[in-house]
């Protein structure tokens, strides 16, 4: 019987992860002489478990599919077809945040994240979204830095917020 591609890929993924982890566990140097159970025992047991689970998942995939799986068609789950655009916009938002947070600072990074994610969810008012994101980021920044004494990068706002306690 043929397995579904996603189930096959994920089952192999779990199996592969288990095998990689077994190799990794073997490379963890053993503990000092008196410790009876070294640092590599738990990783070995866990990766062994993953290999067994990977095989179990493969068996299910080839014997009629994973048990009690949810419907493959989004329509049957009450959802719309996969929207690659939406997925990519949200991902881009998170990448933009990673890129910006230590350069342009926290406020800009969160504003960019906000705008991209809103775009992914179908918003067309980019300027409005950016303004909301900026206000939200600034409010959070001031609250955390001034009130909670948590360090957050000021970035481009350094000249304005530099005295904000960092």
């Amino acid at each position: 019987m043929k397995a579904k591609p996603t189930e096959l890929a994920l089952s192999l993924g779990v199996l592969g992860l288990g095998i990689a982890a077994v190799i990794g566990a073997a490379n963890i140097s053993g503990g000092s002489g008196y410790a009876r159970v070294g640092p590599n025992v738990a990783p070995a047991v866990i990766s062994g478990g993953l290999i067994v689970l990977g095989i179990w998942l493969l068996y299910e995939a080839f014997s009629g599919g994973w048990r009690n799986a949810i419907p493959d068609q989004p329509q049957d789950r009450g959802e719309h077809p996969f929207s690659a655009g939406a997925f990519i916009w949200v991902s881009l938002g998170l990448f933009a945040q990673m890129l910006l947070i230590h350069r342009a600072g926290f406020v800009i990074a969160q504003a960019a994240l906000f705008t991209f994610v809103a775009r992914g969810f179908g918003s067309k008012k980019l300027a409005r979204d950016f303004a909301i994101g900026l206000a939200l980021g600034l409010a959070v920044f001031l609250f955390f830095v001034k009130f909670l004494n948590v360090h957050l990068p000021a970035g481009w706002f350094e000249p304005l917020l530099g005295g904000a306690g960092i």
Binding site: R36, A69, E79, F82, G122, D129, L148, L152, P153
Partner: protein, 495 residues
């Protein structure tokens, strides 16, 4: 008993100071506000609000967490009833009748029975926690490492294999969490494990980063891809909020029955709040004088599951506080909050930091009262929160959720890991792999490893130690049966 009572009174004297009362109040308010947001369950609520407590001393922070914990749950049921989007599996049963009641214009009484039922169940369950915890502590003080290890294996089994739709997928999630748990410096030998030379990984992976990745980033990716263009219908809140005499008569027995169904499931630990909510639903349907109303909006069908959920979640504090074993994703994050304050829950906590424990227990009573007096009058505000358009809602959730993960160490690496966990959460949601076992495995795995190594050090390396001592052997046997019997039954049924 008398000792328990005086300890509790002392706890109240700490929790009732104006400043601690204020933290409890803020906790309930924020917990409800965030919990109301569609797509945000209690676990994510606690993780998102954790950075807010950094400035508080331990007692104040824990009191605030008690408020957040309860607020988040109540907020979730509001969303469930008005929007029919259960934020967690334990709310599905409430959604069944609750949303139907709202469709019939009876949203007010549905929300009221939830709020009052949560109060009744929460208070009774808190009394039971108060009475039971010192007893469990007495027993737990006799436990050695082997017994602890066996208990943790039992918890692993119930949270991953017993609940959910598939044993193998639950276990896969658990083992992913366990694998993530060994990343970093081994606490006993100082060797690094699976850190790949990345210094940020040496400290290990924080459970908050995993929870935010799976619950917030993964959820946002999933909803964007599959449901961002759907419009769920928000039921209007019209008519009276108040329950009629008839509503009271039908709700009260349901609350009480559900409390005693839910509490044992939470405290044993028998794997989360999902099973008792459905058990309560089935019980009410069977006992109701109006079975024909089920499927059309029967109030018992809301009152029961909601109370069962609350009793079970409160009951889960027994293993968390007395044994240090979390049995839900939310409890796992609470445990990590405790650890951030250098508090390791367990029987010794009751002896060493009695003040703190009893203040926390007292604040649970206070939290329940605050919830009741705050939420019904503020229901108009919570309904407004539900009208936030999806793009702004999810953008806002991600802004705050990533902040929660980033502010832990101000590390870029955490943001990268967060996205990886987001992809993982997307795949798991798409393939119906539960995520809670991974979160529990991440935090409980290292604790289990420590206990196992201690037990083996005492037995001089003889692994038989786990099966030769009667208590540990008994617990492991039950765990093994829980794992194997359902699989065998299912396999035989297929043949």
């Amino acid at each position: 008993m008398a000792e328990t009572f005086s300890s509790l009174l002392h706890g109240f004297s700490i929790a009732l100071t104006p400043i601690n009362l204020l933290w409890g109040f803020i906790g309930v308010l924020l917990g409800t506000f965030v919990g109301v947001l569609p797509g945000v369950g209690p676990a994510l609520t606690v993780a998102m609000l954790m950075p807010l407590t950094v400035k508080l001393e331990a007692t104040g922070a824990l009191i605030m967490f008690a408020g957040i914990y309860y607020g988040a749950m109540y907020g979730g049921s509001t969303t469930t009833i008005l929007l029919n989007t259960p934020g967690e599996s334990a709310s599905i049963a409430t959604a069944l009748e609750g949303n139907l009641m709202a469709k019939k214009g009876r949203a007010g009484p549905a929300l009221a029975t939830c709020a009052i039922g949560s109060f009744v169940a929460g208070t009774i369950a808190t009394i039971l926690v108060t009475l039971l915890a010192p007893v469990v502590v007495e027993v737990a003080l006799q436990f050695g490492p082997a017994e602890y290890f066996a208990l943790m294996v039992f918890a692993f089994t119930t949270v991953s294999a017993v609940i959910g739709s598939s044993t193998v997928r639950g276990l896969t999630s658990l083992f992913l969490g366990l694998l993530l748990g060994v990343v970093g410096i081994d606490s006993q030998t100082g060797r690094s494990r699976f850190a790949f030379g990345v210094p940020e990984l040496l400290d290990g992976i924080d459970v908050v980063v995993l929870a935010v990745g799976l619950f917030a980033v993964g959820e946002a990716l999933y909803v964007a891809a599959y449901a961002s263009r759907l419009h769920e219908k928000l039921e209007q809140l019209k008519g009276s909020l108040w329950m009629s005499k008839e509503d009271w008569k039908r709700s009260l027995p349901a609350w009480l029955r559900a409390t005693f169904i839910g509490f044992p499931f939470g405290s044993i630990p028998a794997g989360g709040a999902e099973i008792p909510t459905f058990l309560s639903y089935a019980t009410e349907k069977k006992l109701s004088k109006h079975p024909e109303e089920f499927g059309k909006g029967a109030i018992e069908g809301v009152a029961g599951p909601e109370a069962a959920n609350n009793a079970s979640v409160t009951g889960a504090l027994v293993p968390l506080l007395t044994l240090g074993i979390p049995t839900s994703a939310t409890a796992a994050i609470l445990l990590s909050a405790f650890q951030n304050y250098g508090i390791q829950p367990g029987p010794l906590l009751f002896q060493m930091q009695g003040d703190l424990v009893w203040a926390l227990l007292a604040s649970l009573y206070i939290g329940n009262v605050l919830l009741l007096i705050l939420n019904l009058p503020l229901i108009g505000i919570w309904v407004k929160v539900l009208t936030i358009p999806k793009p702004l809602l999810y953008a806002g959730i991600l802004v705050f959720a990533t902040l929660g993960a980033y502010s832990l160490h101000q590390s870029l690496v955490d943001l990268v890991i967060l996205y990886v966990f987001g992809l993982l959460g997307f795949v798991m949601r798409r393939s119906n792999i539960p995520v809670a076992p991974a979160v529990i495995g991440l935090i409980l795995g290292p604790l289990a490893e420590t206990q196992a190594r201690r037990a083996l050090a005492i037995s001089q390396g003889d692994p038989a130690v786990f099966v030769t001592q009667p208590i540990s052997a008994g617990i492991l046997l039950v765990a093994f049966l829980l794992l194997v019997v359902p699989v065998v039954i299912r396999t035989r049924r297929r043949i």
